[in-house]
Symmetry: C2
Subunit: 454 residues, 2 copies
Amino acid sequence: MKYILINIFFICLNISFAQQQDSLFIKKLYQTSLTQGHSYENLRELCKNIGARLSGSSEAEMAILWSKLKMENYHFDTVYLQEIKVPHWERGTKETAWWQTDKQKNPQKLHILALGGSIASDGLLSGEIVVFNHLDELKKADQSKVKNKIVLLNQAMDPTFINTFSSYGACAGIRFSGAMEAAKLGAKGILIRSLGLPQDQHPHTGMMAYNDSIQKIPAAALSTEDCNRLATLASKEKVTVHFELDCKTLPDITSYNVIAEIRGKKAKEIITFGGHLDSWDAGEGAHDDGAGVIHCLEALRLLKSMNYQPQHTLRVVFFMNEENGNMGGKTYATWAKSRGEKHIAALESDRGGFAPRGFSCDGSASHIDWLKSIAPQFKAYELHDFEKGYGGVDINPLKKEFPEIALFGFVPDSQRYFDLHHTEMDVFETVNKRELELGCAAIASFVYLIDRNF
Amino acid sequence: MKYILINIFFICLNISFAQQQDSLFIKKLYQTSLTQGHSYENLRELCKNIGARLSGSSEAEMAILWSKLKMENYHFDTVYLQEIKVPHWERGTKETAWWQTDKQKNPQKLHILALGGSIASDGLLSGEIVVFNHLDELKKADQSKVKNKIVLLNQAMDPTFINTFSSYGACAGIRFSGAMEAAKLGAKGILIRSLGLPQDQHPHTGMMAYNDSIQKIPAAALSTEDCNRLATLASKEKVTVHFELDCKTLPDITSYNVIAEIRGKKAKEIITFGGHLDSWDAGEGAHDDGAGVIHCLEALRLLKSMNYQPQHTLRVVFFMNEENGNMGGKTYATWAKSRGEKHIAALESDRGGFAPRGFSCDGSASHIDWLKSIAPQFKAYELHDFEKGYGGVDINPLKKEFPEIALFGFVPDSQRYFDLHHTEMDVFETVNKRELELGCAAIASFVYLIDRNF
């Protein structure tokens, strides 16, 4: 009995010592990020020297080269490109829209952005608009009401969700399937209400889908203010909309994920963390997802700067093509499987560079228990949100290949994200230096704890 | 025994029913704030139609009239002004500074703002600068090093505190007592490093103090970038600084706190909540503290919009003169005492209009226990921070008059506050609509819970 008690005493002492060691290490990570961080200047370079970087664009290519060089200059153990094939859609140069009524014959400008993947309009597309306030309304509509018209799908994101990703999730179907549903009923084009919470004149682009068995029609996002105005007008009189898009889909093209590693003692056991290097072609992809890739790059740099010798291989992946195909994430997962690696955990940062609130876990009950168990380590850093939840689009395919893997999502504050998401407003200036640095430190600390505990 | 168990059962049922009722009420407050809120447009009016409103200024007077009219239009039970005397300091129209060295003879502009309460420079003040990196260094300095020079007190806010109010608190002494310490050693003027975290060219003003037994010297805040440059230069060569201020202190002037009430069943038992209507004269006082007064006005409006009949009198106070004298807060406390009122709790919002994180409590152990007990009601709204802490400058004098009172502080995210605080950057555009609305709902919910539980 005495020996058992002595053993328990020493085990407790060890745990407490380990926690204290972790706590000091995490403190140092935060201090380094906040006083000698590279994240803000790296994000500035990516946003200002390169800018928007849609898959297949020359800017995406530049971003790949920039990332690889940056990683090499940090002297990680390994830096390499992983070849992938990505879709290649281009917005083109014509993208205009306006409206007219019998009373208002002068054309009035509308603020649009073609949806990613949309076909061109083949010259000017003109038609009466028909307004639906919900995707379900459109689905149930009578063909006679829609045929040969331009659908305005004016479903608004619900502002009463506290986390704005929930509002987005509940509404994103209008962008994804609006064109298919409208085309089924004979519409000749569709404008969807931008997936953004503010009432303003900034359209939000994003991915849409076609179905080969349904007519393809041009599709664009309209600013929320324009939507409000058109919907009000159309409730009183006939409104004609004209729009032109000359976007096009080119053949798939070669591109790359960019990868950097610090090898662990168990070199074939991998912790992947990353974001996506591609962005939409409006703005600079600062929050989506410049912040995410910079978070992870900086996290690896911070760990290296403290001479941390990991148990597992720490691998940062800058995924390509999250926005319109997820070929980076899909290719990475099958490649990882084919290499016979063991993937124990992956983390993604793809919710912006805002003040950290916590981490979510898409994994087993014991993974979620572990997540909750580390919450106290983060209380002093004002992270409180440690719950079951989504990991991320890029890391999601790993689940199929490695059913035992724990996927984690970095959770920053969500309130401002859908002011900017997929718009020309998503620029470097909207990222706050401290908020970004705190995110880097949180992710470095989290990866450290995975490495120590898994 | 059976009866006791039945009683316990019904008590539990009641508690659970009450919690459910609270939970539904809070949900409705949030929904109303987020979908039919007035806060953002009210803040826009205050910032854009009036702007900065330093005590004693005509803008402060306009803000008082605007606030009273706004409250009257909401048809609260009572709206009135409470007369107070406030200091009246004016910045004047001359506020320039530049530096020169033997090598750089062309005058180079510096970015300064006179500190609140500073005397004028009586024409151009010129002198060699002597740099101190900490207030303690200045205190210990030899008189010969300082005499007839201009002190540059270059103590930086420590970025490694996670909550930026801690960084501010640890450094604010340089602004408050820098001039007194420098004057003791014979300095003829002082420039202090701005109390802001970013490296930029925006000086941060704020209150300073003199002591009648020590020579008064002119004092201004210098931008952090200018501080860095001057400190580097001065470590290598002699740097001369010239500056001119024509600010002045005028006789005290009559002003007002603006008050609105919904009478409770126990009319003489008061819950006070408010912010301060005055602001510094740079920027528009959007976060400091336009957001705070609007938070509380909107909270009262939200409660009224739901026909809430409070137990206690709910009193919103727009305090005047928090920034340079706190005469609003001091006068309010003694006036409240003299009226024989019972003050059970007070809440202040004076930390900006950022995303809510929680509430702090300056009160007894049982008050803090109560605060922690309500935390679960706020979890779904992403508030997690329910800890012992400061209430606020305006409500603080209530503690002396009502030793039993519980003081609470609204705690929003602190990361961006000291980018803007007391600068020309503190403008309406930096306040996010949702973040502001969430703050209003959080405060309305909190006041509701105090009213129900106290």
